[in-house]
Structures are given as C-alpha cells and as structure tokens.
C-alpha cells in the first residue's frame, strides 16, 4: 500500500504542500480561482520549530484510532485508506481529539477533514507529493 511519507531533512518549510492540497481538493481547475482570497483548509500542514520544518498529514495508521473513536461511523478504513464520509460526519471532532498526529482538522461547515491521498479527486495521487519541490514528501510503498 503506497502512503505519503515525510522526510523532514528535505522539508523547506515552503508550505506549497498546503496550497497544492487545498487546490487539489477544491474541485476547481485553476489554482487562482480555487484559492485566491480564500481561507484554506488543507489536509496537510507544515509544523515549524525554529529552523526545523516538516509536513504532517494522515498516516493512514494500521490501527486508526480516529476510526475507532468516531461517534458517527463517518470514518472508515478501506483498502488501506482512512476516509471520511462528510455526509455522515456531524462535526463533533472526536477524531481531532484522538489523532496522535494532529492530522484531522475541523474544516468549514460541519465536517472534519483529513488526507485521503487525493485518490478520488482530479489529482489522482497526492498533490502534496507532486508539488513538493524537494522530495520531502514522497508517495511510496514502505
């Protein structure tokens, strides 16, 4: 199962992953139209600690605690991907409370949001990886 892995050694803290993520999941064809003058809710975020930076997104855990704790049955894991059914999610954010990586976030509207590897959006594979200028984020089998 290919997943997104992060190597902080090469992370530049440029935050492009966040914007590429937000764009990929916007449903728009043009980045300007998708993101201009909007608050973005990317499913990956860059943490900074002084000069160290690294991107964090869903690890699609073997044993996903968010799925277990979801009170609405909106989170599930299928074919190795932890997904969220926004239709079922009521936005209680228990998932935010339990994700040990801080990789599930409250988004606009009622639902939580998280990385689903861009498998179902127009990008087809993780946009953060495609757009990373320094291979700090990779999508591979490990």
């Amino acid at each position: 199962m290919k997943k997104v892995y992060v190597n902080e050694k090469w992370c530049l803290g440029c935050h492009l992953c966040e914007y590429n993520c937000a764009f990929a999941n916007s449903g728009e064809k043009n980045m300007v139209k998708a993101l201009k003058d909007k608050e973005i809710h990317p499913r990956i975020h860059v943490e900074e600690d002084g000069k160290i930076t690294y991107a964090v997104s869903c690890r699609h855990c073997e044993d996903p605690v968010c799925v277990k704790c979801c009170i609405s049955g909106a989170l599930s894991k299928k074919d190795g991907v932890v997904k969220i059914d926004k239709n079922k999610c009521v936005g209680c954010f228990t998932c935010v409370l339990v994700c040990p990586y801080g990789a599930v976030s409250p988004a606009e509207g009622h639902a939580a949001t998280k990385c689903e590897l861009c498998l179902e959006n127009a990008c087809g594979s993780p946009a953060c990886v495609k757009g990373c200028p320094n291979k700090a984020i990779v999508y591979e089998e490990r």
Partner: protein
C-alpha cells in the same frame, strides 16, 4: 554607508490578480525581498535586495511573479555605459575591489559559436547511433610511445595509470566551501552512476565522500587546504591547480564566515579563519619545481594516481603546456577565460585570460609539433555549454572536457552571479544549513545524470552524422570543423578551414 547612487537593478513584477498570498516567495527568499503586509493583505517587495535568482519565480504556484531588469537608465552613452557608471559609483562608495561570481558575462567572441561541424553525405556513410555501436569511452593519461615485449614476445604492460570515463566529460573543480555539501554529494553521486569523475576543488574531501573516491579527482592547490596522505590516496587522480580561468594569476579567498563546521574540518583550518589560497604555489617558480611537486605526489601515492596539472588559458599557453607535458604530469587541464568561480575580482574575471578554443588549438598543435602530444591527455573547460561544444573541443584536440557551470545549472543555479554573498537560494553556493537543504542530492544527482545522458546521446548523434563511431577517431580531427565569420589569423590558430572551403 547607504549608497544613494545605486538604484535597484531589478523590478519584481507581481500579477496581483494571480497571487494567492501563499507567501512561498517570502519564505524562499534568503535576500528578504518579499514580505507580507498583514494589514493590507498584500505582498510587498524590497527590490533593492533582489539578485534575480528567480527562486520565487520558480516556486510561485500560480506563476504570478516575474523579475525584470529595471529600465531606469542613465542617459545613453556608448562609452560610459550604465554598468560602467554603476561600477564607478560602487567603488566611490566602498573604496574596494569589485567582486563577481561565475564566468565572464561580457560580449567577447564565443568561438564555439563560430565553428560548424561536418556531416557525411553520399561519399561516406553516416552512422545511426541507435542501430550501431558508438563508443564514447575515453582513457585519460600518458600513452606509451613504444610497445615493450618480454623474451617470449608477450606484451609488457607499460601503461601508466589511466582514468577511464564513460564519456568525455567530467565535473570540474568546485570546492566544498564554495559550494554546499549537498551540491558536492549530487556531483559525487552522479559521477559514480555515470562512470565519470568529479573534482574536489581546493576544499579537501569531506569524510562522507571518500566512498566516491573512484570517481573523484582530489585537488592540490596553492593553499594546500585539506591535503593529506589519505586524501591523496582517496581519489582516482590528483590535480595540481596552478590557475583558474575565471581569475588567472590570483589566488582564492574563502571568507572566514564560510569556514564553519565541516568546512573547517575538511579544510583543516580553524573555524572562522579566512582561507587564503596564495596566487602562486610558493614552491613552484619553474617547470622543474612543478616537476618536483608532480613527482612528490606520485611518490606519495605509489605511482598509482595520474597527476593532472590545471592552468588557466593565458598568453603563451602553448609554451606553458609544453613545459607541463615535460614535467611528468599525465594530464593537462586548461581553463578558459569564461570559466566560472564562486568569487573573483570583477576586473580580473572580465579582462584576464584568453578563450579556451584558441588555447586548446594552440596547445594541441604545439604538443603535436613537438612530438609530445601522447605524453599527456588534454582536458579543457571554461564554458563548455553543450554536447556540440564537447564535440568541437574533441575535434580541436581535447581528450575530454570539464564542465562546472553547466553542472550547477543542472542543479538549479540561475546564474544570478552573486555566489560571493553566500546566500544562494538554490542551496548550491552557500553554507547556510537552511539554504543547503534546498538541494536534495537525490534530485540534484538525477538532474546531472539526465543532463549527461542527454549530452551523450547528442554526442553520439553528432559523431554518427560525421560517420565517426568513437571519440578516439574524432580527437584532433579538425577536418570536421569549419569556421564562420572568422579572420585568417583566427582560422590559422584554430587550425581549421573556413566554411565553404
């Protein structure tokens, strides 16, 4: 003193209708040109700091940026041109020597562009490199003039150590210190994968890179930085650097600010001390002295390593090369006046030295005339820009080419020519860890491999077109070259006919 006479050289043009305020430009500019104004929610620029490296342009996800040359100009004057006047202002302000980086940018003749390559038609067939074998492998080193046999008639191997290259290109000297760890690693990795060599420059060899020793040329220069027995033994060959195309006749100066951590350790000098390479080697005042150093190094390495002597292309280069060829050196490297540098006095870079094309032709002819061409291999550098330049250099008599500017371009260099500031936004000419990490050697080495692979294909196609199937058969084959727009003297020195002849 703030210099009111110097206006920003560039303008940052932002298409605000496209800018999404992701601030990648701000985060990626080590010169702090861009900043975000939270009140007005706009990006603002301080153009006085811009060096036109275009890191921001490249990373802007919506392509909303461009950097243009400011059209703010002084009154036109063919003699007192804008640049000339600005330099006067700078010196009037600083009282110092002007510093520049990379190669001579001035519009002096590029002979490569005035030389054209032949192709086969009708009378001798061209070769399709996709269908027929095409050899780009070369061996550098002294070639024996006689075949020795033992009493049974078997050939005695009297070959001195040779360098085997998969193609006639090597990465030329750039020191660890002038360029980053990751840049070095990219070069080393690529050289290893490609079966060619890279060159340490005068910065010693970082202990992490000893594993790439078989693809490394270790340099001994006038400062002797980082030179020790293990270092000499680590490389495939040893290069004595007498001069450099970008700054013939002067030494080098890596400021103490860059002598930090591993750079200091690798150079074997204290942290923070300026690394000053003297203009001459203080023990070399003659060919005889050079010979002593060549043999000292050979002695130190048990005659297992070929020794390269690198000189800048200057007047009388043919005579100098003749002397080197008699010094025991195995290879002569000649660096033309367009060669790059991490920092050089501007006047030297732009006014000293001669074009590599003329130097190469003159040296090759002189060594042939003197019957000592096989004593040495010839490697030329100083702005080899493409596979065509390589082919022309080989046909003019070179055994192989050195490239450095092309290599750093492959690594992302945008030739902004401000290496001397140490704030390279591409992670190449810097020791700032935050900037160094911008060059991931996995990406860098792959781009170098791609470039060299592409050139190799092109070299094969050009050779195939001439009906030549090996570098060996192309070397010194000046009949394959013709000049355009060159005068009699130039053609005479280059040893080629004019196009149409």
């Amino acid at each position: 003193m703030n210099d009111i006479y110097i206006n920003p050289e560039f303008e940052v043009v932002r298409n605000d209708s496209r800018c999404i305020r992701c601030r990648v430009c701000e985060r990626q500019c080590a010169n702090e040109v861009h900043s975000f104004d939270a009140d007005g929610k706009v990006m603002i620029s301080d153009e006085s700091k811009c060096v036109n490296c275009q890191r921001c342009v490249s990373l802007c996800p919506t392509h909303s940026l461009k950097i243009v040359k400011s059209d703010c100009r002084l009154k036109e004057n063919a003699n007192w041109q804008d640049q000339t006047i600005k330099e006067i202002y700078k010196q009037a302000n600083s009282g110092g020597v002007l510093l520049s980086s990379m190669g001579n940018p001035n519009p002096l003749p590029v002979y490569w562009d005035k030389i054209l390559i032949n192709a086969s038609q009708v009378t001798n067939p061209s070769i399709d490199p996709l269908r027929e074998p095409m050899e780009t492998k070369v061996f550098l080193g002294k070639k024996p003039s006689v075949i020795d046999r033992d009493c049974n008639g078997e050939i005695i191997n009297n070959l001195t150590p040779q360098i085997e290259l998969s193609m006639p290109v090597m990465f030329s000297a750039m020191s660890y210190g002038s360029i980053s760890y990751n840049a070095h690693k990219s070069l080393a990795l690529a050289a290893q994968k490609l079966g060619i060599l890279y060159n340490t420059g005068e910065g010693g060899l970082h202990e992490d890179f000893y594993v790439y020793g078989d693809n490394t040329i270790v340099q001994v220069a006038s400062g002797r930085f980082g030179v020790h027995e293990k270092y000499l033994m680590a490389g495939k060959a040893i290069e004595i650097k007498m001069g450099q195309g970008a700054k013939p006749g002067i030494g080098g100066h890596l400021p103490g600010a860059k002598i930090v951590g591993d750079v200091s350790k690798t150079r074997m000098i204290p942290e923070g001390s300026d690394a000053i390479s003297p203009a001459p080697h203080h023990d070399i005042y003659s060919i005889e002295d050079l010979r002593q150093l060549v043999y000292s190094l050979k002695e130190a390495t048990a005659y297992k390593k070929p020794v390269i002597v690198k000189v800048a292309a200057v007047h009388n280069i043919a005579a100098i090369a003749s002397g080197i060829a008699r010094s025991g050196a195995d290879i002569i490297a000649i660096d033309g006046f367009r060669g790059g540098t991490g920092a050089a006095p501007t006047r030297i870079r732009d006014n000293v030295g001669i074009p590599i094309e003329l130097a190469l032709a003159a040296v090759d002819k002189r060594l042939r005339d003197e019957g000592i061409r096989n004593n040495v291999s010839l490697v030329v550098g100083g702005s080899i820009r493409s596979a065509a330049d390589v082919v022309k250099a080989i046909a003019l008599g070179a055994d192989a080419c050195y490239i450095a500017t092309a290599a750093v371009l492959a690594l992302g260099c945008h030739l902004c020519r401000t290496c001397q500031t140490g704030k390279c936004n591409w992670g190449i000419a810097t020791q700032n860890p935050e900037l160094v990490k911008r060059l991931n050697p996995e990406i860098g080495s792959q781009r170098l491999i791609n470039l060299m692979t592409a050139w190799q294909h092109e070299i094969k196609e050009l050779m195939g077109g001439m009906g030549i199937n090996s570098i060996e058969a192309l070397r010194g084959n000046r009949l394959m070259l013709r000049g355009v727009g060159l005068n009699e003297k130039e053609l005479e020195i280059l040893g080629i006919s004019h196009a149409g002849q």
